[in-house]
Subunit: 293 residues, 6 copies
């Protein structure tokens, strides 16, 4: 059996076009989205790795924006004896939030975490290993009060349907302190702040209501080499396993966690949301492969 060509890339569901899908199908390409590949326990290893990097990065970016040399407040991200610690507010309780909170707590700041899922709040408390961490559901009154006192606000709510809920209104942003910092990691899903607007690494920030906004979609690219290593750590064992199993088709057939990443295969769409989006039929991957093996 001749194997089809294979490409592996990130699946940008909001950007992808019908033309692109049709081209893939015409060329009989096996297209894998690396953000859909799962690990053996059902996690998304590449999304997790990128979220760990993004979460670890945001606090360091915040530190730069708070410093005197970036027209910031001129305060330290952390706490020194006798000076009340910097206040950090995190929207969301997933991996980005977890790593941002770890860094913030490690630097000695005060951290408040808001999310509407109690089980996520309980899980982040356990992961941070700090019983006393402030967690709250997203109650408008409590959130508004907290934002007024915040030095750094992080938006890190990821939505399953690809569109982050906008939980902070422009009015709430306007009530924040002058020179406070707002970093919206959810910007690639539209953002959690009404005032968020996509920026680039060339001009990463803008001011609105005297709040410094940082809304670069791909925070992790600041740490390009760490990201590369992380991705290679995940793909190397997969490539070795493809080799040892005798090709990608066999690999896909025997490993459903890996097959979760395929969205086109031998001329047909195999991913349900993509199929729905372009009103194409969705094929059953395993049945097709079985026919070829």
């Amino acid at each position: 059996m001749k194997q089809g060509k294979t490409i592996i890339s990130a699946l940008q569901r909001n950007v992808i076009t019908l033309d692109y899908i049709q081209a893939l199908n015409q060329k009989q390409i096996t297209a894998l989205a690396y953000d859909l590949i799962q690990d053996k326990v059902g996690g998304l290893p590449l999304v997790s790795a990128m979220s760990e990097i993004a979460g670890s990065s945001v606090m360091l970016i915040a530190a730069e924006l708070l410093s005197s040399f970036n027209e910031g407040q001129g305060i330290i991200l952390g706490g020194i004896t006798g000076v009340p610690p910097t206040k950090v507010l995190i929207l969301g309780a997933g991996t980005v939030a977890e790593y941002a909170a770890r860094a913030a707590l490690g630097l000695g700041t005060e951290v408040k975490i808001f999310d509407n899922h109690i089980y996520k709040l309980r899980r982040i408390k356990e992961k941070l290993g700090y019983h006393g961490v402030y967690t709250s559901t997203i109650d408008v009154v409590t959130l508004t009060e907290a934002l007024k006192e915040t030095d750094v606000a992080i938006g890190a709510i990821r939505s399953d349907d690809g569109r982050s809920p906008c939980v902070v209104s422009e009015e709430m942003v306007a009530s924040m302190k002058p020179n406070s910092v707002l970093i919206d990691v959810s910007i690639d899903q539209g953002g959690c702040f009404e005032t968020s607007d996509i920026t680039t690494h060339l001009k990463p920030t803008f001011r609105k209501h005297d709040v410094i906004h940082y809304c670069v979609p791909n925070v992790g690219s600041r740490a390009a080499r760490t990201a590369t290593t992380a991705i290679s750590n995940i793909f190397t064992p997969i490539l070795i396993e493809i080799e040892s199993q005798g090709g990608i088709d066999k690999m896909l057939f025997h490993n459903s966690w890996f097959a979760k990443g395929v969205y086109t295969y031998r001329g047909g769409v195999t991913n349900d949301p993509i199929a729905k989006k372009f009103e194409l039929p969705c094929k059953n991957l395993n049945l097709i492969i079985a026919a070829y093996l």
Copy 2:
């Protein structure tokens, strides 16, 4: 040589009278104040032990006063997932504050510590082993803001001159939340809150500006048996050493840390502040003992 009689008791410097001192001197009594006896590294072991008990007790008292069955706010002292943690504010950074903060952090509350001595704030941070703990100097603006949000305020500033500084004005107390709790451990030195007024274990609380005040001077007596054990732990080795050294005079002569506790000896006052208070001459203890040994 015939040994004089010896009594050991707490020295209540504000209560003691000239008559009492004269009676001691007339009867040639060796009077030891157990709150003045030092240990070999210059600490005050009995004051420390009582402070550990008081500090550990205050948070448990606060918990009772916050509960629904004591006309309190009906909130828990601590934090459950998704509900912002109870806010505790501690004035002072000594042993009472340390143990109160330990208990509060252990229960999962948010803790703010105020003191005017940076070195004390640095020390309590190290002792609590929690880099991120909120410490602040007693700045009126910061303190007033913090009090407005506080659920439990603890007064634990001990002064060297026997009179706690009153750092919270009546106006500041009036701005606190209804049903919040105020415990003034410094009440035996006059208290740190302007509204503090001594109470008793029989009727331990009163309300002023809708803030529940608890101002019982001897907090530790709630844990009478623990206190007894602590005192006996300190005195037992001392009594054994007196025995083995051949009497209290020899013990006093050879152990200056122990002699620090003596305020009258064979008819004379040997403690400087007591002597000053009653305008009596202050004798040098060692010289007198030396004459008798």
Copy 3:
């Protein structure tokens, strides 16, 4: 389609009567038990929240009962330097046990946890983040020895079948120290101590074999406001979602985690154990709703 009436309440499976169920069915009421509603990962959010409150509360209740002013032992709940720490024994390793253990460890006591499920003991060790915590299976010899030395014993074993196992016999209670404290959180399921007997907030304790028993079923009501906030945190997002989905029927149909809470619907019982208890047929909720949508 006209929507039926809906009531949401706690389901007290031991108390509920056939009359009540028949009345619900006659009135075509959709009855939801809030202790059966699940979250998206299969947890029971309201049971967890109430357990967190109960677990956090028991240690504070124990502290009151140990104090000199409640005819207790007059000892502190915790530890001061040089005085062996108070000993706490917890039966069970679920959420109540976890929060009770957190509070106890935070106050500086010695904690022993007994449960017959090794995986629960492993899980509580991980959650407490304290490798050295004492865990033991419920071995009669070990448990009896441990009880003899205990200052505070907590019963927190919850059974799936609604009836806690009675793991401590009257003889074992009789061997406990005079004035030790016993709090049976499992009392609403019958209790884990043979000597337990339901009490009320008005007269919360009784003495048996000189052990102070506290057996109030609803410990959390001491923190009424915290409990209210916790419940409202869980229901507010649900109510918003019902609204946005176009009514409760659609909400139930599309969200199986929420539908888990329904026990009567449009005239029929939809919860298996309830149906069995009253020998009524159990209807498939989804099939009925589908017919109405």
Copy 4:
């Protein structure tokens, strides 16, 4: 008595000139160096505060220099799962080192601390509260090996005689990895690296042997507002006390910790090293004040 004029400033011992001292003396000015003022336990409160800020800042600076957008290695300061953590090496074990190590450990990096005083290494281990932290005396072989693998090297050895020991030779710097980062906080005392050369906030870095050098003397000015608050926290209580004691002369006379800061008083030098430097007589401050009180 008429009080002399008083100025308070930092004492830059390497910069100060004879002209300046003579001018002070001619105008009978009481000159206080705020870096010499002590607190009541013999610490240097302002030096400590500035060191806490510097130590907290260096890791944030290092993070910027490691990022892809500063021509750095493109790695994250910290660690993500499966990628070996960034390696940080700290020379010195004082307050700067302590706060740098706290931040580094909090971000999840691997930290190695080198100092020649075992008691300082023991003290920093205790303060960091992390038994397993790597400490080593400054042994050339061990240090050279460690530098080869280091991503970030911090120089933070402060010398009593005003001149930091140069413990890292140019050869050792040359053996470091390309794009590794070197921050010399000791640069105001000459620096601990042979290749260090003073830089400014305008052009803070240079490359030597492909190692990024950051040698700005006043690291803390990045956090100008935090520094201002810290200084004001220390001075406000002092100013209040001067007021309440009836002027600066009385304050100096009664508080030796405060008087430690004076280097000229009513026409004479009162600080021994300054007097020696300019071959002037050194007056006894207390004797002169006594004459005026």
Copy 5:
């Protein structure tokens, strides 16, 4: 119904013979492998318990082998102030690795953990509660470098197919330091080091390339009594439940977690891998039992 005889033992899949299986079947014996019995959440309680013991033991064995009296390096397992800590490298991230890492970190050593599954590395980081722990995927370059510096290397990779992957070549072992220690806990599955060769408690070690190899298959037997208690803790509740359910057949029928342990039942093989190994048919346990109940 007459119950068959039952035996419970460890299933040594590599050792078991066809004769043995046939004998079991001829005698109609119900054979349970205690390493296959699950708990109610799908874990393997006996494997976990033995792994906890093995993991806790290896570091203590390593300490003996490092000491001067065992021809070791004469170094301490841990760290003292000013002496770089001992370096431990662990292959694997399961329960053995977790407990070995806990002990190693508790003793103050430096720990590096290698595994190819990122989710296992993430999980062990969470369980150890130490964000900064070194984790790496098994990259040959990184692993080789790390081994060169290691004092103690632990092999603890368990494979699902009964054969540990050999991840360290003889060449890599040869590059380790003289007198370094290598303990291969995976030896019963063939080992993770190419140089590993099974040893016994009588002569537990051998040297190859001047590296001390310890390859005793059953590490836990050093702690025979702890192991016995652990096993009895798991079986006692099971035996009680068998009794209360009315015999082993009913127990097996109603508890699938327990039935997972059965590999022969009333004359037939019921475990798939065993059946495949000997080319025997595999019977469905539940169907057979149902016929008898």
Copy 6:
């Protein structure tokens, strides 16, 4: 000036003879005891280093003695889930005790620390960073009860007068569990257990009352290389400083912390206790050196 010869060795005060001292004086030797040399803050660096090693070693020795292969109890030093942890009792609260407690807690055991000095108990609690650690004064009733349950007892009380107090009677040892382990680190000062008797590395243990006694005086020699490194770390900077100061006499004259180690100098005894022991005059070191410089 011609420098005298210098020797540096441990001072074994109980072993040293008059002949030895006279020989030193006749040869005009400068004799330094390395256990008397201080560091700049008044600590004893070599005693501390050896105590860290001894403390870290005792738990590893205890682990060997508990294992099945040394006729021990066959239990693990530490704790596994569901099996009560091993119980360790430590007499003393100095450096040996601290490091032993760290190792024991790190391995997951239960630790009880007894000492008669409350300030030492408070200090060890702070150093261990674990608020809940069991500390007790040496009360016979409490100690006897604790010993009955102990698996491992460590004697680590060091006395200033060179003779450890014997706090555990033979009767108390006889009440310990069979096969429990007793390690007396204080044996070189006579030991803290009545049943202690010096042993050697060749035959390190004996049994009395079925308790395994380990009483080798120099525990640290198990880790000969670690000890050598530690000593060299302390002496190397001293030797460099001697060189740079122009000889040992100048070094002694200018550094009183170093001079503390000298007990004979140019024909006279300069250490007070040595002089008293042999009824020789004690010379003032500084005065003699001054005459020669």
